[in-house]
Symmetry: C2
Subunit: 215 residues, 2 copies
DNA sequence: GTAATTTTAAAACGTTCGTTTAAAAAGGGT
DNA sequence: ACCCTTTTTAAACGAACGTTTTAAAATTAC
C-alpha cells in the first residue's frame, strides 16, 4: 500500500508549506509537484482536484490538533477547582507544539492555513470545523465559561473571535515579526516563546471588565 | 482633465470592493473592468499594471485615514493630562468611520485590504506604510507610552501587533461575524458598534499586567 | 509466471490570465 | 478648421493554470 515515502504524503508536505507561504491560489500544482518531486497528474489522481488537496492539507493538521486539545479541555472541565482563563488558553500550547513535530514549522503553517481559510472564502472551513469538531468547540466555550462565569454567551462569542484574530495574525506573520524583533532590539524568540507571550494578552482581553462595554 | 466620472476612479471603486471580497490574485482585471464598465486595457493605461493598481487602491484609503488619525493622536499627545489606553484607541474610531463615507463599506474594505496586504506577501505594504506614514506610527507609540509609561518598547511592539491582528481579523470578517451574531442570538450590530465593542478588548490586552509574562 | 490492478509518466487539452498593439475616438489649444 | 495630445476601444499575444487523456511501469494477487 505504501512505498518508501508515500506520494500522497510528499504532496501534502510540499503543498502545506507552499500554501502557507503564498496562499492557495498563488500556489500552482506545478510548483507543488516540482517540490514534491512527483508527477503533475498525481495530484488529481490521488486527491481529485486542487480544492480537495487544500481540504486534505487542513484536515491532516486538524486531525492531530483537535483530539489533543480536546483531551486537555475535558480534563480542565472535569476537575473540581475552577480554572483561570489563563489555564484554558495554556491548554492550547501542547497541541500547537505537537504540530511542530508533524512537519517543520507546523504550528505556524497551521495558523496561517487557519487564517487563510477564514478569509479566502466565506465560511467554508468554518463549516468544516463546526461539523467535524463541534464537540471540541463546545468544550472551549464550556471551559471558558467555567473560568469566567460572568461572561454572557454573546460576549464570549465576540471575544473568542477577537482571540482567534490575534492568534491567527500573530502566528501567521510570526516569521516577519520575529525578524523585526531581532533587527530592532536584538530579541531572539521562537515559536513557543511567541505562543507564551501572546497568551497573557489573550487572557486579559477575555477577562475585560464588562462595565466599560455597552450592551 | 476629468470627465463626468473619472475612469480611474471607477476602476478604483470596482477594484477595492472586489479585492476585499475575493483577494488580490483571485480578482481578475476583466472582472474589475466589467464592473467598472470600462475597457480592459484602461487599467494598464492608467495604472501601468495590476500590481500598481493594488497599491493605488490601498494608497487612496491611507491618504484619507492617516492624516485624520494623526490629527487625533497629536491632540492627545499635546494635552496636559495623561490619556488612557482607551482614549488612544478611541482616536481610531472617527478616522475609520470616515472611510465609510469615501466608499460603501469603506471601513471593512480598508481593514480587509490591510490584512490581505500583510499576509499576501512579506513586508511589501509594511514598508510602504512605514516610509510614507512613519510619523503617524511614531505618534501611535508615543500616545500609548504616554498612556501606559510602564510598557517597555519591546512589549509595546508585540502588543501593537496583537492589536493589529485582532482589528484586522475582526473587521475583515465582520460581515460573516455579524451574520452569525444575527442568526445565533438575534443581535443586530453595525460596523461602528463592532469597532466600539472591540476597543475595550484591545485596551485590556494592551494593559496586560507584566508580572505574569516572562521577559 | 501471468493476469489484474494500481500507480506513475508525458503530453496535450481548453481556459483564463495580465499585458501589448494598433487604430479609432475624444478633447484642447490656437 | 486644424493639429496635437489624451483617452478609449477591439483584438490578439504569449504564458500559466487545472485538468484530462493515454500509455507505460510498478505493484499485487493468484
Amino acid at each position: 500500500m505504501v512505498s518508501k515515502l508515500d506520494t500522497k504524503t510528499r504532496i501534502l508536505d510540499a503543498a502545506e508549506s507552499l500554501f502557507a507561504e503564498h496562499g492557495f491560489s498563488d500556489t500552482s500544482l506545478r510548483l507543488i509537484t516540482t517540490r514534491a518531486s512527483v508527477n503533475l497528474a498525481s495530484v488529481n489522481y490521488h486527491f481529485g482536484s486542487k480544492k480537495e488537496l487544500i481540504q486534505a492539507v487542513i484536515a491532516r493538521h486538524l486531525e492531530l490538533f483537535m483530539p489533543l486539545l480536546n483531551e486537555k479541555l475535558t480534563a480542565l472541565c472535569a476537575q473540581a477547582e475552577k480554572p483561570s482563563v489563563l489555564d484554558v488558553f495554556n491548554s492550547f500550547v501542547d497541541p500547537l507544539l505537537a504540530l511542530e513535530q508533524q512537519s517543520k514549522n507546523g504550528t505556524v503553517i497551521f495558523m496561517q492555513l487557519l487564517g487563510r481559510s477564514y478569509t479566502d472564502q466565506q465560511g467554508h472551513l468554518r463549516w468544516y470545523i463546526t461539523t467535524h469538531y463541534g464537540e471540541v468547540l463546545a468544550n472551549i466555550t464550556k471551559a471558558l465559561l467555567k473560568a469566567n462565569p460572568a461572561l454572557s454567551s454573546q460576549e464570549l462569542f465576540w471575544r473568542l473571535h477577537f482571540t482567534l484574530g490575534t492568534a491567527v495574525f500573530t502566528m501567521g506573520s510570526s516569521g516577519a515579526l520575529m525578524d523585526i524583533a531581532k533587527a530592532d532590539f536584538n530579541q531572539d524568540i521562537d515559536v513557543e516563546g511567541l505562543i507564551r507571550k501572546v497568551i497573557p494578552y489573550l487572557a486579559s482581553g477575555m477577562n475585560t471588565s464588562t462595565e466599560t462595554t455597552s450592551m
